[in-house]
Amino acid sequence: MGLFNFGHKTFRHGIHPPEHKSETNGLPIRQFAFAPLLVLPVSQHIGAPSKIIVREGQEVMRGQLLAEAGGYVSVPLHAPVSGRVRKIANVPTAKGEMSLGIYLEAFPASGQEVLESDGLDWETATPEDILQGIQNAGIVGLGGAAFPTHVKLKVPEGKQCEVLLLNGIECEPYLTTDHRVMLEQAEDIFMGIRYLLKATGAPRAIIGIEANKKDAAEHLSRNIPEGLPVTVEVVPVKYPQGSEKMLITSVMGREVPSGGLPIDVGAVVVNVATTAEIGRLLPHGRGIQERVVTITGPGVKKKGNYLIPVGTPLRFVLEEVGVADNLSEVYLGGPMMGMAVSNLDISITKGTSGILAFTDNEVRRADKVYPCIKCGACVDACPISLNPSQMGILAKFEAYDEMAADHNLMDCFECGSCSYVCPSNIPLVQYFRMSKGVVRKRAAAKKEAANV
């Protein structure tokens, strides 16, 4: 592979799954209807759950705070619609577990107007103000990870942010939210960049975009405001370039150390949609109420990019867009890293970037699993140069500790490249996810034993 990419900036290995983006990348973002009942888990992000500050039966305004941040690595939750808190109870989540949440009954005539508080001017605000503002707005990474953005932006003592990297790669097949955001919300993105540059102290920003979104790249570079130190970098199409580490390597030619953070190589990476959100919300002191979601897949009748209020139940979304009768699987996120949904009563959260519906016809089910023939396809696909072949065999024989100790298991970020190429249909990613769970569990147990 390396040979053919010679001269282009990119990372090692990687794969080229079919893109399927043309089905939705020409469709502008449309506003979605309000569902009658919204389901809002308090844990929509990585970190401590938000603390509920409303009571059952309480009436809330769209944009009003429902729950405040439960700590530093946490964000508040705002009401996506005006309505009444029906119940505070266990709500279903995409992970399949029940967790604490709020059932919010929308008023039948709930409008689009939003409760605002004091805005933040990017020119006068201090970096600390901006970080606080971002946390107050409830902003998390909208690319899918849902990590609280203000935490990520905080440059640790002694470190220097050289480049602010805007992630407009969107390497997952099918998904086009970032693509549409870049085309339609350039102003917000540039405004967001202003805030981010100030917050991180970075001298310049680079927007990384894959070559299959040339129109977005051109649109952005044409509209760069005077004096804003932003460049647009187009990189070759390759999965999983949208991963932070891969993007840094592609654009900056540096490698984030194992177990380290982008800031260790002088970069802070923020998703373009998150940036647009910051640019839109911060001047007005608002919180997140809705996000752009690509709804697509062979099982969907009205494909497109929709602006959907957070908390909208999946069932409602699918009913609105219409799905095929022989619907078989529904995924949240892209087809490579997205999660299958077992329960349609779960809701759209801040991290939901796409909804894919596949019918019986598209889902490959009876794949026979062969033994690993050591063809090396996975080794040539793994973007972080692990040895999935060997790790798969070790996992099969339950040698989890060996995988972590000798094979850098914990560096795997489950991009799915290995499983995608495996001719023997070995569920490598599932093995690794499982093994990581076991390793973490054992490490925790060990730590506990040491403390006792």
Binding site: S419, Y420, V429
Partner: protein, 339 residues
């Protein structure tokens, strides 16, 4: 609206869609031209030889699976590859009963005992062939002439030798190009070698058709091109140097490339994915090692041909190559362990 139960499965939800049996099947297709030429050159005897070895391999695999209570793995096509490959490496008039024994050994000892497909650390066909070479050294070095009159109607008498009995030969050609060179210093014509107009093992004579099969597999991304290329390059360069040093004692590099089982070995045997290393670097070292051993054995060893031994030895070394030449893990200076 939602008529049926949802299904859930793990990510990624997309698949490249080339499966192991596809690869194996295509390897068989790629070997067919060379096999067809073998039948054309040596006639009915080779046809029977190939059929025997393939059938024996498939039968052994099936029965072993049955006895051990496993699901039969015959339809992954790997047994067919082993059988066909073994058949192609045998002399044209090789007794069928010996070929049968070889196939059984290849599958039972070379593959099944190690845990079946995916775990065979040696190329099973070569294990079979190595045992045959050691068991019946005379029969396996007795060459039948190519393009005999009536080869499509008559069967060589040695082909039908009774089981456990010593074969008798009716037409014995002098020697393969390699043994002719080694012991008598006679080098065969390069064009004859490339076109397969010489005697030798059933499937190794026509280098061009073997290369064709290899190109097909490489084009379909079902073979690691680095292996044959590095083997052939090493042999070419090394023997080129030796030939340049002493043209009398050492054959020309072209002769080295096209004679004997080098092409067949480099394209179809060394490329056995299971027994070769994983990484690109490792595979190149593996190929160079094979090339080196082939040249050493052919030029200085006691045997005229060393491809089989070279590949088996490299198979044995490949775990070490794997552990020494892993890719550097992203963001570290450390290489993952392989073994």
């Amino acid at each position: 609206m939602f008529k049926q139960t949802l299904h859930i499965s793990t990510s990624p939800h997309l698949k490249l869609g080339v499966s192991t049996d596809d690869i194996m099947r295509n390897v068989v297709w790629a070997m067919l031209p060379a096999s067809a030429f073998a039948v054309y050159a040596f006639g009915l005897s080779v046809f029977l030889l190939l059929v025997t070895s393939v059938v024996a391999a498939i039968l052994t695999e099936h029965l072993l699976c049955r006895w051990s209570g496993k699901e039969s793995t015959v339809n992954d096509w790997s047994a067919a590859i082993t059988g066909l490959l073994l058949g192609l490496t045998l002399p044209p008039a090789f007794p069928l009963w010996m070929a049968f024994v070889g196939s059984v050994i290849a599958i039972a000892l070379g593959k099944f005992a190690f845990g079946g497909l995916g775990y065979n650390t040696f190329n099973p066909a070569l294990v079979g062939r190595a045992v045959l070479q050691a068991a019946f050294p005379a029969a396996i070095t007795t060459w039948h002439p190519a393009f005999l009159e009536g080869r499509f109607t008559d069967i060589a008498s040695s082909t039908l030798a009774l089981p456990f009995m010593e074969p008798t030969y009716d037409a014995v050609s002098g020697a393969t190009p390699l043994s002719a060179f080694k012991f008598d210093g006679v080098a065969a014509d390069s064009a004859d070698l490339a076109l397969g107009l010489v005697s030798g093992s059933a499937g190794e004579t026509c280098a061009l058709l073997i290369v064709l099969g290899g190109i097909y597999l490489i084009a379909r991304n079902m073979m690691n091109w680095r292996i044959p290329v590095s083997i052939l390059l090493t042999v070419y360069v090394l023997s080129g140097i030796m030939h340049w040093v002493d043209a009398e004692a050492y054959p020309s590099p072209v002769f080295m490339l096209f004679s004997g089982g080098l092409m067949l070995g480099a394209v179809f045997m060394a490329t056995d994915m299971v027994a070769s290393p994983l990484t690109a670097k490792g595979v190149v070292v593996y190929g160079v090692l094979i090339g080196l051993l082939v040249v050493v054995i052919r030029l200085w060893g006691g045997l005229p041909e060393g491809v089989m031994y070279a590949i088996l030895l490299a198979n044995a070394v490949s775990p070490h190559i794997d552990s020494a030449l892993q890719n550097r893990v992203y963001g570290t200076n450390k290489k993952a362990k392989a073994v």
